[in-house]
Symmetry: D2
Amino acid sequence: MAIPKPVFDPPFNVVRFSHLECDVVDLEEAGELYRDVIGLAVSSESPRGMHLRGMEERNHHSLVLRRAQAPVARALGFKVHGKADLDRAEEFFGARGLEADWVERSRMGRVLRVRDPWGVPLEFYAEMDRLPPTHQKYAAYKGVKPLRIDHVNLFMPDVDSAVEFYAEIGFRITEYTEDPESGRIWAAWMHRKGSVHDIAFTNGKGPRVHHIAYWVPSPLSIIDLLDIMSTSGHLEKIERGPGRHGISNAFFLYVRDADGHRTEFYCSDYLTVDPEHEPIKWDLQDPTRQTLWGAPAPRTWFEEGMEFAGVEPVDPEFAGTPIIAP
Amino acid sequence: MAIPKPVFDPPFNVVRFSHLECDVVDLEEAGELYRDVIGLAVSSESPRGMHLRGMEERNHHSLVLRRAQAPVARALGFKVHGKADLDRAEEFFGARGLEADWVERSRMGRVLRVRDPWGVPLEFYAEMDRLPPTHQKYAAYKGVKPLRIDHVNLFMPDVDSAVEFYAEIGFRITEYTEDPESGRIWAAWMHRKGSVHDIAFTNGKGPRVHHIAYWVPSPLSIIDLLDIMSTSGHLEKIERGPGRHGISNAFFLYVRDADGHRTEFYCSDYLTVDPEHEPIKWDLQDPTRQTLWGAPAPRTWFEEGMEFAGVEPVDPEFAGTPIIAP
Amino acid sequence: MAIPKPVFDPPFNVVRFSHLECDVVDLEEAGELYRDVIGLAVSSESPRGMHLRGMEERNHHSLVLRRAQAPVARALGFKVHGKADLDRAEEFFGARGLEADWVERSRMGRVLRVRDPWGVPLEFYAEMDRLPPTHQKYAAYKGVKPLRIDHVNLFMPDVDSAVEFYAEIGFRITEYTEDPESGRIWAAWMHRKGSVHDIAFTNGKGPRVHHIAYWVPSPLSIIDLLDIMSTSGHLEKIERGPGRHGISNAFFLYVRDADGHRTEFYCSDYLTVDPEHEPIKWDLQDPTRQTLWGAPAPRTWFEEGMEFAGVEPVDPEFAGTPIIAP
Amino acid sequence: MAIPKPVFDPPFNVVRFSHLECDVVDLEEAGELYRDVIGLAVSSESPRGMHLRGMEERNHHSLVLRRAQAPVARALGFKVHGKADLDRAEEFFGARGLEADWVERSRMGRVLRVRDPWGVPLEFYAEMDRLPPTHQKYAAYKGVKPLRIDHVNLFMPDVDSAVEFYAEIGFRITEYTEDPESGRIWAAWMHRKGSVHDIAFTNGKGPRVHHIAYWVPSPLSIIDLLDIMSTSGHLEKIERGPGRHGISNAFFLYVRDADGHRTEFYCSDYLTVDPEHEPIKWDLQDPTRQTLWGAPAPRTWFEEGMEFAGVEPVDPEFAGTPIIAP
């Protein structure tokens, strides 16, 4: 598929991916992992859940954990520019016959909850409680020193179509993998905020959340987290890394919590604000796209993801075989 | 002065600060410094000058050095979103009786050269030659591993008014220093691209360029540059640093070339894309705003800057005294 | 002075500098600084004092803080190879008419307390309580992640003689500064353990302790400490740094506690175990020996030190003028 | 086996492991790898071979590459304290009926070439040409910024006996792996110079060289090398890493040249000079000893090594199964 042209006057103005809401079975254990080990700041908590954020975030939260019977992803949160964008978004989704409802969310103004064509629950909002800056409260940094949420990555059963849909609402491709035989897009990275991505799609049974990612100060922060996790009872939660993705240039580490939610910690992507920013195309056969240095990734990383509440994932139309590095 | 509200529908759409053009007396010496010591990539060169860029830049250049009899700053380059923005900019500056001319520039499409109310020569363009990505040509990284140009910092004789003017064309304040007695703005950091700044103003004899800045991968890159410069005959070009600014949170180093052009190498500022992003106000009496760790800065750093060709700097209206850290 | 030849069969076998015992006025404040901010581990504490150590140290302590009416240095501790070395040391000091007494020290076997010719109280021991390794207890690392004590640096009134005396007991010179006019040694770095130094001497009113030093993992650990101290009420305790010494190649930071005890945090010196290891000679006029990058050091750093209990410091015989970097 | 007591008065005084001499088939290719990619300094070269060293080494060389028809390890070089130690070594090996010959080596004084009981060719010397310090020639640092050779690691068919033999000549154990069933030592790390090791032995078909190791400034230097190798045609030479060994605490990367010689780049082990330094015992079943963070190592790393010229390796007596991390 030819990748779509960037849309600079989208139907509504999304600023960035801003938060994930998800269910966890053992809230205490999850709290310990995200707060004490990883180092996210707690904005609020109750017996029913926790709101967390990175050290430079002024938004009240970028991760919402809810206590539940089973793990599931509940919603992907996106900040829009202003309240009028919410009405425009409602109109856009309504015109396409897609679900769009106004919902109540703690610490936020009006929230529009919609479903994309694959059922992914997106929540758009313009206002969230804001907190005073903490990025210079250096004594409070811990773990991997998480600074801010960066993106979400989804398994999708039809990446070509997902790219088309998200391009229409203003997401711009920065890098993508193409299957040379079929010409289909195997995976794509799309942004609103001027980095490599706010959202990415990979061919696979979906929709499912592959991971969310937090930006960290340096590769050494990630090495610190590896050392901490491996010597304080969290070794088995280290899934993949450290490494560098060819795609996005990210120095990465993937961690999975006890419920299977996957978080990437990463740094060193690049600025993409130029309107003519040329997408980088990778060949599906090029193993360095996944892992510049050639180290293998575990099978779980390629196959496992988190379902969205009430959405049955479907197998991909395109049953190509991902290259799993040696 | 109350800081101006952000303008989200400016008269024309500036994407980011993109380059500095300046004159140097000894082009060979300057070339050695910027290319061999600092590590910028050479995009093109001739006996009359050089075009250089950072390792992740696809724009043909972010620094233009021209051989001349005396050092001077020639122009600040800003990328606009599209060609129509150039016409809108022409209209905007014309309507205010400010100079605005179409000029020819190497490797660029139409270029609109204007003067801001203080005479600062701004050059707006939508198109520049683009080069293939080099951010993963790791064997070519050298020196401080400069990645991309980030901002320009100017001495201005009336920061209040400069802030008002640049706010009108869409620059948004992220941090500022206020003089508690007069209520005037002493210094301000304003952005377009979602970082702490594209342009900053400090009260002083102006307009003059204080510095341009390149973004680098980590504090260790800056330590490498210090070690290289101090042991290869460039010790005297190290002006200030390493240190951390309270304002912007930047880990910094300032280098001055043989002609007095100052370049900052820095990392670790933060994302500012949220429309409601609250500016941080610093007190002029707070020494940590300049230097979080308390180390003194040399007097040259507070006083010396580079004039623009043909623009006589004037003393500031507001003769407050900057706090020079102990 | 010609520097002395290394003595490979000294009268007794010193393994390394191992600890400082000193008095502090406000033990709670000192405890907070060394434990919570700097990150040393507490081995034992009581209302009268604290024993602390670095994260890789198995010796019970490398820093002993005692509550007292006034700050003072009490003793420099050196580990010797075996018990027989203690008797040989007693003999050596006795033969020179120097004070040598057996004293009781908490957590240690026999301790021989002597005075060097300038009155410096040295305590030699072969046995100290040993603790289980903690270098891989990564969740317990804090602050600057101090790993191990490295050396002590003293002001001495006659460095030539101090070098001769310490060379006789097996300390070997790695680097030194010579006054080109008098030919006298201005400062010297001497080791036993295979690094640049266990003890160093600088010309000045003495004997006084200039500083002790802890080895840390990387320059980024030191940047972390600067960020923490400057934003948690300890800004004024940052005395000098970050920087790199020409001598020893150390990346350094100097911190002074509320009582004036100075601690250096440093990394990146080099291995010196080769018997023929050639000392590096620096010229007193070369400013890069103190500070490779040219940043000035505060006057306090050149002038202030901590006296030893009961030892009146004397002015140096050689009243040269140190080069204080610009 | 009970690990042997440290021998503090060995028959001759070995200072440290100092160099490897080996044969390579394509000298030009090897030269490019070690010099241009890895960043070792060339001390001398000819059509027949190259001598290389790390940036802080004053010894003329730590790696000798000789052009040959087939790759092989030729000798492990150890520096002894003085010439008398060479005679004592000759006596020691002679008394045991082991081969001991005086040989000529370029840039070195008298060299005693011996065979240990397994045929490993050891070359002892007291004098090698010394070069001026280059550790502060920062502009000359490249690649991984290799500082100094640190150790050699061997496959041995009988680690219990190897440990006994090397302990007798003064090598002291710092860490070891024991097979809980047989009580035999599976692997051992032994030092002379005060670090975790100068030589290590692992159970396996041997004697064969597993790797030599260079000490580097920081984990970021290793990440730089990974980025450089993977994007400049040397991806397939990256064998394992980055990672952290539980044993020795080393942050590591293993690289194999075109001939199969393996080099480790590493940092962050610890000081071991205390005479009572307690060895750390690891269980063969504990996967974190090999790899603290749990990432798998390739089979080649566990199985492949370089033979010594003229020495037929034999299978280990103890056919236990190493734990290969998942």
